[in-house]
Symmetry: C2
Subunit: 433 residues, 2 copies
């Protein structure tokens, strides 16, 4: 039987770290009931030990020497909420190598070096859990690994970045431009001073790499995730989408058909009746389609100190339970399927085009002929006048077309003299399939 007190070394004491301290302190009694152990935060690694902190810790707990956690024989579990790639990766390796279990909220690290760290963990019979790395407080990784253990997941569509979802929600709801929505998000603390990782879709891509790896039992590296951000999305796009019954969202899409997989992040149109279309503001949601279970969705806060801390401490509870049972590091299923990417010709979806055209006879006929020649039929067509004289806008939604057809359509449109420019084009997700 394991000892009755579990000692935790916490790396990082920012908002999430403080949340972890609060949760462990306030819920001590419940945690003891659930695990049969008391859980103590013994050491906390920070950069600046002089800095004022929102939580009170006994003297001697806070340190700026990593080795006090990593090589402290008493510490059972290291909880990492400091973020970043290095030296974090090195610390986690050291912790695992000295037989400490690790709970991390670090999506960047897990997306880039998850396979390596999980293999170090397995070698040393340690748990390495990372529920908090995707969709904050939503227990989505558990759902994939355990809840759907018996099923074959075919599709995951995720709103997994709160910052961009807030921006797009504001654009739709209040009719403000991208830049203004971003400024507001920064003011509210929903976007960082440098918003690149969020706006460019990189943060969402990291989460999709983690989801695809777990959901499809296939190691899915980050550089195999196609990424397009929302930097180009205009208010007009959002408005025309709404006019046709769609909501524009930054979505991660991971699909599997006949063993071949595509994983990407892009702004896409969702039909308003899609369960993800109404997920607004900084909330996250992951839609999961399984062969047997059908459509499911998991919704909740995607970030924030306490929601993220909840996921971290729930992982900690699992580590402690495993420790009592003596089964740490033994429940992980490694990815066992070979990675096969879908070629563009096998990636099917509907597409939305917004075209600026010369307002003259025969333009629409020329455009529709181009689509017909490519074998792509149109579901919706909308022509509207512009403020610019002798110009018009044509908005099209196609039926399903594949990635090769998409490239041909774009080339064909660019070659048509009457098409002044392609203002935007987006994938349309969900619907008829």
């Amino acid at each position: 039987m394991a000892k009755e007190e579990i000692k935790v070394g916490l790396m990082g004491l920012g908002t999430v770290g403080s949340g972890v301290v609060r949760l462990v302190m306030n819920h001590q009694e419940d945690l003891r009931h659930q695990t049969g152990c008391s859980i103590t935060i013994t050491k906390v690694l920070v950069q600046d030990i002089q800095k004022e902190r929102p939580v009170h810790l006994p003297p001697g707990v806070v340190t700026d020497h990593p080795e006090e956690l990593l090589h402290h024989a008493d510490i059972d579990v290291v909880v990492e909420v400091m973020g970043g790639i290095e030296p974090t990766r090195n610390y986690i390796r050291q912790a695992l190598e000295s037989g400490k279990h690790v709970v991390t909220a670090n999506k960047d690290l897990m997306a880039l070096h998850g396979a390596e760290l999980l293999s170090v963990a397995a070698q040393h019979h340690c748990d390495l859990f990372y529920e908090a790395s995707v969709a904050g407080g939503i227990p989505i990784l558990r759902a994939l690994v355990e809840g759907f253990a018996s099923d074959r997941i075919t599709r995951m569509v995720g709103i997994v970045n709160g910052t961009t979802n807030y921006i797009l929600s504001e654009m739709k709801k209040k009719g403000v431009a991208f830049a203004d929505a971003l400024t507001e998000a920064q003011r509210l603390g929903y976007a960082e001073a440098d918003p690149t990782a969020d706006v460019d879709g990189l943060d969402a891509a990291r989460k999709m790499a983690i989801l695809a790896t777990l959901g499809f039992h296939t190691e899915w590296p980050l550089d195999e995730v196609h990424v397009r951000g929302i930097g180009d999305v205009t208010l007009e796009d959002v408005r025309f989408a709404a006019q046709l019954g769609y909501t524009l969202k930054l979505v991660g899409i991971a699909r599997q058909d006949a063993g071949k997989v595509e994983v990407g992040v892009q702004p896409a149109l969702l039909p308003n009746e899609h369960p993800l279309a109404t997920v607004d503001g900084v909330y996250n949601a992951v839609y999961v389609h399984g062969e047997a279970v059908g459509e499911t969705m998991f919704y909740g806060p995607g970030a924030g100190d306490m929601p993220t801390a909840t996921a971290v401490v729930s992982d900690l509870v699992t580590v402690v339970k495993n420790k009592k049972l003596g089964v740490n590091g033994r429940s992980v299923v490694s990815p066992y399927r070979e990675r096969k990417s879908k070629p563009p010709g096998e990636i099917w979806s509907k597409h939305f085009f917004r075209l600026r055209v010369a307002d003259e006879a025969g333009v629409l006929a020329g455009i529709t002929r181009l689509f017909a020649d490519e074998g792509v039929s149109l579901e919706k067509v909308l022509q509207v006048p512009c403020t610019q004289e002798r110009e018009a806008e044509i908005i099209l939604v196609t039926h399903r077309a594949n990635g090769e057809q998409l490239l041909h359509m774009i080339k064909g449109l660019e070659a048509l003299p009457a098409v002044i420019r392609i203002q935007s084009h987006y994938r349309v997700e969900g619907g008829e399939e």
Copy 2:
């Protein structure tokens, strides 16, 4: 190390049972990767061995002798999808007593005798899992027990009965009366020939008893769940609710405040922007509010052969993994909190009233004075004429009032001469809290 072949005895071969057989057969390779074992369905208990079945099983597998499963030394796990209380309860007891693990989809049984059966399981170091008993394919029990292990759940609001949700969705969407929607549900196989258990809210009550027990760590017996069904809901109620921005749903509500709990099932109004308001048709969803995590929601198919089978076989996977690790029956946390029910005076919510009144001067003033005297303020008031001459309808939505105030308001309204009758009143859930 456990043996490499896990033998399953299946009780029941209806739609869910056939789904279990199909899933285990079709996903054999995946199941082996996840568990390191092959899973074989060795015996299947049916009532009539002559009946044609949609799945093909080797000769000698199907039997009508329960002892062939229950006392068969080779069988490791019994999967129960035959339903009913007796003899099912007796069979499950026998299975556990002979050291077999049990997976069941039986909400009736778990709501009534869950505590007893879980204690028999614990005594014999057996697993007893029942994910499929609540909300079909949604892994909600796992989310409560593991995903939110670190949090304190304060509120669960569930649409956990597909039949009634289908009926209410049709009434709202198509403007059909209750009876017609029910007939259509029966025609489509969404409602049984005798729809009492669904329509009267009993089925939902069973699920809420299970959710409350797990979410609040408090044994919550079925007879402590207050139940009101949808038999009285009229199309007018649905329409007036819609006019004021609400959707009428049969919801299970389980709330905890300062250690005191209320659990009930009733038709209630949800603001249209509430995540549950758009859950339509036979879909289920459970909204979970945790002190730290905040608002989350889990959405998916609430019934159906394959979704339910997914939940059953995922539980089976957990049993097999536990068996490999030698930890069966050791991970359960028994309810450890004392049961404290909220008295009516501590049950707070908004309320919707639809009143038939005499169309004469001063009526509205009299009614509003009654509410004011009770200390309850009004959020919305709508007066509309009726086809009946010299009568009118008044629709009111109050601000928060407690259960005692509610009774006083009802008595007061009944005593007012100008109030011809209270057509309906419903709780309004969600919103401002």
